[in-house]
Subunit: 411 residues, 2 copies
């Protein structure tokens, strides 16, 4: 977890903010599943200003089409989410997704247009509404301020860890909260946002400022994560604001907006980081920091190129300081800079060492490098020595288990 001054990390996840409750149950959506929660509900006592971002894939899951429709007024009060089936590329997908929203609205006695929806799992298999139907009223009944963890479990697919993070901070002397849940862990190369993330806050903020903050923070968090280069059809990131913290509504980019944006960054950055760490089959989190870039875009392109390289990822799985592959990935990044100035440093809790300066290798102890790379969190620090801009990207190693998981996923 990366900490930030003025923001206290707290429990509660997606229910940390005032007004929010959640729950998760076992519905048995994927054939044979009788043990893992797979249907979640998030509910707020208030209609919330809501901002959202969705996949840039031309193939969009039915839930996304329904969300877009329901978000035309920028308001939402509940979210229903299932794992085990993506409800994507099905002829009746939108109809089924609308029905799920309808059931949710009915059980909560709210407007169906205030219900958002997410689905994750296999693509192109019909989602059976009959399995879900009896579980929706049950979810509504057990909604609780302690339900974040169950909801988080329910949205997981091949994830191995729950990703829940929340912070507390102050605005106008009022205690404010912002927290969320998120899931990975394959088909992760967000080009808008990651597969599914639901974030809530009790801050009072206008729709316009909420949207601005979400786009800005997304561009430097989820959009900087890659597990396997595959941009999902169902990427969904939803941010709901209840306003119950009773601060003066944020309506411009003032100091309070900045405090809010930083809170959003603290939560989304850590969620994104955990998503990379829990990439399918991963044993290591790889963080690539690019400094000295002529502009932010260059820094981003280079950082993402490094953490996306199959060869770099496989080398780090073996704790092998094969810096040539890192330099190679820097070299084919689609950006303009002088490769002859580049330096590369490898770092972890075990220490750090420079392996390349001026675009060429330097001698270093392979033993010391192996020691640094044996940790579970690896930092690759690149300096382009061509300017002042920086970026960070997050990825994971490429392992036997990634292949195993994805060669067996449907069977």
């Amino acid at each position: 977890m990366v900490k930030f001054k003025g923001y206290e990390f707290i429990d509660g996840g997606v229910c940390a903010a005032a007004g929010f409750k959640a729950a998760g149950v076992i519905a048995g959506i994927k054939a044979g599943n009788t043990t893992k929660r797979d249907l979640a509900m998030i509910y707020c006592s208030e209609r919330c200003n809501t901002a959202a971002l969705f996949t840039s894939n031309k193939v969009k899951g039915a839930p996304i089409l329904v969300c877009k429709e329901h978000l035309k007024d920028g308001k939402a009060q509940a979210v229903i989410v299932n794992s085990g089936n993506a409800n994507t590329c099905n002829p009746d997908g939108v109809e089924i997704a609308e029905k799920m929203c309808g059931l949710c609205a009915e059980s909560l006695a709210i407007d169906v247009n205030d219900v958002l929806i997410g689905s994750t799992g296999v693509i192109g298999q019909r989602l059976d509404i009959d399995v879900i139907k009896p579980k929706v009223p049950e979810l509504a009944k057990i909604l609780s301020e302690k339900g974040s963890s169950d909801a988080c479990e329910a949205i997981m697919t091949t994830d191995t860890r729950k990703k829940e993070i929340a912070v507390e901070f102050e605005l106008d002397g009022k205690k404010c909260h912002l927290g969320g849940i998120s899931k990975g862990s394959g088909m992760i190369n967000p080009n808008m946002c990651t597969m599914l993330a639901f974030i809530t806050t009790d801050v009072s903020i206008s729709s316009e400022m909420l949207d601005k903050a979400l786009r800005k923070v997304n561009s430097v968090t989820y959009n900087m994560v890659s597990v396997d280069g595959d941009t999902s059809t169902n990427d969904t990131l939803i941010l709901m604001a209840s306003g119950l913290a009773k601060n003066k509504e944020i309506t411009s980019q003032d100091k309070n907006y900045e405090i809010f944006e930083n809170a959003l960054f603290a939560v989304m950055m850590n969620l994104a980081r955990e998503t990379a760490r829990d990439g399918e089959g991963a044993t290591k989190l790889i963080e690539c920091i690019v400094n000295g870039a002529p502009n932010e875009k260059t820094a981003k392109v280079v950082a993402k190129s490094v953490i996306s390289s199959s060869l770099v990822k496989a080398a780090l799985f073996a704790a092998d300081a094969n810096w040539g592959r890192i330099l190679c990935a820097i070299g084919y990044a689609d950006a303009d800079f002088d490769i002859e100035k580049v330096s590369v440093e490898l770092a972890s809790a075990k220490g750090k060492l420079t392996v390349c300066t001026d675009g060429a290798g330097i001698s270093f102890s392979e033993e010391a490098a192996k020691d640094v790379l044996s940790e579970e969190e690896i930092r690759i620090v690149v300096d382009l020595h061509s300017g002042e801009d920086s970026a960070i990207a997050w990825g994971c190693d490429l392992t036997f288990d990634y292949v195993k998981i994805n060669a067996e996923y449907r069977t």
Copy 2:
């Protein structure tokens, strides 16, 4: 092998064309290697019009810098190539590469500027010229018209098969020949050409037309191959023409140029295809054919997106007809078309079946699909139903062995 009317596939590889000889020996360039040839020489009795393409990676191997210098006059007579060390990112790389060319020129009694050079292997380790020095005269001595296979072995790294192809055809009633050798098999995502490929012909053709043909054919062959998305620092494709077939020199895009270009396509397409088939750890060749595109660029982008998807590659390793991943990869391709019109067919020697029409799944027999996908050559045929243009891309499946090979490469 994909055959073409009017072009007879023959033995001889890089020595099939009149005037060319080759050889390969064991020099022991990689520590511990005492059994595999790792140093090759190709020589022509004539100074050849020579065209070449090199990697677009900003990090360029020293051999590439030397080749570019030596090719300023568009002529070459010999090539020296080693595997086991890429001679890239070394402070004295260019000096060493020049020395290798010098040794080669001396042993053949030709101008050093007529010697080209290639190196492949690990990046960032100093190449020891002393190991190579005594072997160069030996190579010159054993050069033979039957040496293609030994030279082909010498340029291999993690390749498991030799890639040698040659054709015979006629121009002006003269028998002409064109053939080459090529190596893969990791860090393969050519963005100019593949790692190392050397092609020779006895056709008489001007430098300008030779260059035109090489660029054109490269764009639809090597540039359409991806094994792992990593564009190498050492991609080198060299085409030498001795003119010994004694046809009237090709100096414009006439009918003879077309015959020559088709011969080049027949050889390069098959070499590229074999490079994909022999991708690191691969058990299957994946050929993606995109039809019905509004333009060639769209067809190419979509085809390459499909064969590059880690998730598609892992699914095919398991012979799993997970077409949703194929549609997902089509959907995130950076191109403009209507996803709702897309159809996908899976095919192999065992038969074919349609799995998706109008952008949505249709019911099919999973058993029949498994049978089709159990073959070693899989065709994914995509129809965008949005125009008349087509493209083909070649890739391979993602397997445990890819991870194994790349997690152990340096050790």
